[in-house]
Every structure is written in structure tokens, then in C-alpha cells.
């Protein structure tokens, strides 16, 4: 299944980014892009809006690299910016396109603040687990469970370079590993 692909800590990434290390920047984006894009996507915004919001969040981070605390939770920081922009974008879309923008999840979650916070926390929990399993597990679990469209076993096998028959057992092992990591 491959060695666990641990990302550096946020503190290490932040330190290296402040030194202008481009590889650290790529690691930071790799670590958090799925989390940040998932926030607007899961509120019914289009992929284009979600990508815009993600770019704004990462751009804001660049602007604040020098002033962030050394021990900042970068994922939490980015998620806060993404959530605020998402909230405003959803309300704007509802005003601009009341007949067309009718996202059930947005309506439900905007009305219920408690569920909203719980949902964000769950997505962050999920992302943290995916970041800590091996790259192969991350790719497999994302393809099986978290893509916008269903992906066939044949396509997954082709993407990952594995036998189609091994997807089931590998899925089980990956989920067990993710559970062990998140339960620590």
C-alpha cells in the first residue's frame, strides 16, 4: 500500500514559505486545496465559484504570511476565509438568481447554524484523515467516495495502475488505516 505520505506540519510549511521556498508553497496547496474547494462546492456553488473562492483564500494567506503566528493552524485559517466568502457568495447568488440558484444544502445549512459548523468540522476531520494516509489510499478513497461524478472500478484501476479485483480489499485496508489515524 506504500508508506504513509505525511505532509510537514503547518509550522514547518509556514517557516519555509516565509523563506520563499516554492516547494513548501506547493505542499501547502496540496495539503489544503481539497478542503478549501469542498467548502463552496458543498454549498451548491459552481466549480468556477469554488475555484475563485479557493484562490482568494490562498491569496489572502500569501498576504498574511509575515504576520501569522508561527503555530497558526493554516487549514483553519484558510477554511475561515473560504467559509466567509462562501456565505456571501451564496447569499449573492440567491439574490441574483432566485429561480435558478436553489441549492437544498445551502438553504438547509444557512438556516441551521449548528449544522453548518458541525458540517465544516466534519469536512476538516475528513480532510485531515485523507492527508495522513498514503498517497495511494488518498487517491483511491477520493475516487471511490468524493468525486462529483461516479467513477467506475475500471477507471479507478486504470488511474491507480492496480487490478480491478484489488479495489475492494484495498479500500477496506485504507479505511481501516484512516480510522486508526483519526482515532489516535
Amino acid at each position: 500500500m506504500g508508506n504513509s505520505s505525511h505532509f510537514p506540519s503547518d509550522e514547518q510549511i509556514l517557516l519555509r514559505c516565509r523563506q520563499g521556498d516554492m516547494s513548501a508553497w506547493h505542499q501547502l496547496v496540496d495539503k489544503y486545496e481539497s478542503l478549501i474547494i469542498s467548502i463552496p462546492l458543498n454549498y451548491g456553488l459552481s466549480r468556477e465559484d469554488a475555484v475563485d473562492i479557493a484562490q482568494i483564500a490562498f491569496t489572502a494567506l500569501i498576504q498574511n504570511l509575515e504576520t501569522l503566528d508561527d503555530k497558526s493552524n493554516l487549514g483553519g485559517w484558510l477554511a475561515t476565509v473560504a467559509r466567509r466568502h462562501t456565505w456571501r457568495m451564496v447569499k449573492r447568488r440567491q439574490r441574483e438568481l432566485p429561480n435558478e440558484f436553489n441549492s437544498k444544502s445551502a438553504h438547509t445549512l444557512l438556516r441551521d447554524r449548528t449544522n453548518l459548523i458541525e458540517r465544516w468540522e466534519l469536512i476538516e476531520w475528513l480532510n485531515s484523515g485523507l492527508m495522513l494516509v498514503s498517497e495511494r489510499c488518498r487517491a483511491l478513497l477520493t475516487a471511490l467516495y468524493f468525486e462529483a461524478e461516479d467513477v467506475s472500478y475500471a477507471e479507478i484501476a486504470a488511474r491507480l495502475g492496480i487490478a480491478e479485483g484489488s479495489i475492494g480489499p484495498t479500500r477496506t485496508r485504507c479505511l481501516q488505516r484512516m480510522r486508526e489515524i483519526l482515532d489516535r
Binding site: M22, N42, V51, Q63, D69, W77, R88, L126, Y145
Partner: protein, 214 residues
């Protein structure tokens, strides 16, 4: 598949995701009535994961967006050590000047001082923007709520890519981003030790807050 000791994590996963035959599913369901604590915990975790996976989409940034961000970071990396004189127009750092404080204004005739204490307005200015802060004591505790607004005075200040960071006495930092009107907010500020930084692509503006009094 009818005894507890062969109900594995894989069996539970297949059961939850509907890959078992009706007979096997019924056997699992029956066996779970006498499941061990570990098996019940596995089932609970898998159930939560399954529900979350039904509701969640994860995606990645397109190549063009990643390239844009890399270019911005590259610009930051290239310029971070250069002085403001060497990089005119890029990330100017400045301290905003307090140009208005409602507490310092003379009281209108007939207005009690307690009325004036409810809302305090501060206005800070630099060449590019005015920053208006409306600060109100909270009724539920000793803290303060802040509603601010960034008012660009020059076209080179882009609200859409700007951010506002509040640093508190405790060392905690909170981030907000302005809406299309430039408005932002923070809740439950303490009375002292707060500072705000307004950042955009081209400037970083420090806004030192005075002691806040209820």
C-alpha cells in the same frame, strides 16, 4: 457469517454500502445485536463515514489556478526582503493614522455621556483607504463587537483580494474578508491589546486600536 468472531471490518463495510446479499445482510444485522464494543465502534465509524461521503465532494484546483497562485507566491518570495523603496507599489507596509474618534468629540447639548458610550466610531486613514470601525459593548459579557468597513480611495486597492486580521491580547488571530461593500466584523474583542492588519496585494496596513471602554 453468523457468529461475532467472524464479523470483520470488511463485512461491516460491505453491509453498510449495500454489497451483501439479503441473507448475509440479515445475518449481520442479527449478529450485531450481540456485537462486541469494538464491532459497535467500527459500525458507528463506518456509518458516519458513509453518511459524510454521500454528502461531500472533494476536488482539486485546476492547473491554471495553481499556476496563478504560484506566480503570486513567487512575487512574494522575490520581494520579501526588498525594502519599500526598492519595490514601489508592492506590499507597502504602513501604519494607519487615527483621524476621527467619536469619544473625543464634544457632547451635543442634552446628550448624556452614557448614551455616547454605547457606540464608538474610529476612522483610520492612509492614502489608499479609509477604515471605519464601529465598536459596541456586548450585553452578555465584558467584550466588544466590531463592525468595520474599508473605503478605498484609490483604484489600486482591490477589496476582493483583501483580508483583515485581528490579533488579540491572548495572541490569537482571527481573519475576516470584506464583502462587496467593504464591511467586515469581529465579535467578543477584549478591552485592550487588540490590533488589526488590513492586507491587500499591494499593501499591509497596521491599525492600532486604543483601549476600549464600556
Amino acid at each position: 457469517m453468523s457468529t461475532n468472531n467472524i464479523i470483520t471490518f470488511a463485512h461491516l463495510l460491505d453491509w453498510i454500502e449495500g454489497r451483501l446479499s439479503a441473507e448475509d445482510a440479515a445475518n449481520i444485522e442479527k449478529s450485531m445485536t450481540t456485537a462486541t464494543a469494538s464491532q459497535r465502534a467500527d459500525l458507528a465509524w463506518l456509518t458516519a463515514f458513509h453518511r459524510l461521503s454521500q454528502e461531500t465532494v472533494l476536488a482539486t484546483l485546476p492547473d491554471g489556478a495553481r499556476a496563478n497562485l504560484a506566480a503570486r507566491f513567487s512575487q512574494y518570495a522575490e520581494n520579501r526582503h526588498r525594502s519599500a523603496a526598492e519595490r514601489p507599489g508592492f506590499l507597502q507596509r504602513m501604519m494607519a493614522a487615527l483621524t476621527f474618534d467619536s469619544v473625543q468629540q464634544p457632547m451635543p447639548e442634552g446628550l448624556r455621556s452614557s448614551d455616547k458610550a454605547q457606540l464608538r466610531q474610529l476612522v483610520y486613514s492612509v492614502d489608499a483607504v479609509d477604515i471605519v470601525l464601529n465598536i459596541q459593548p456586548r450585553s452578555e459579557d465584558d467584550g466588544f463587537d466590531l463592525l468595520g468597513q474599508i473605503l478605498p480611495k484609490r483604484a489600486d486597492f482591490d477589496l476582493t483580494t483583501s483580508s483583515i486580521q485581528l490579533r488579540q491580547k491572548s495572541g490569537d488571530t482571527i481573519i475576516d474578508v470584506p464583502d462587496e461593500l467593504g464591511e467586515f466584523s469581529f465579535q467578543a474583542l477584549s478591552s485592550s491589546g487588540n490590533s488589526i492588519t488590513v492586507s491587500s496585494d499591494t499593501m499591509s496596513i497596521a491599525v492600532p486600536l486604543p483601549e476600549l471602554h464600556g
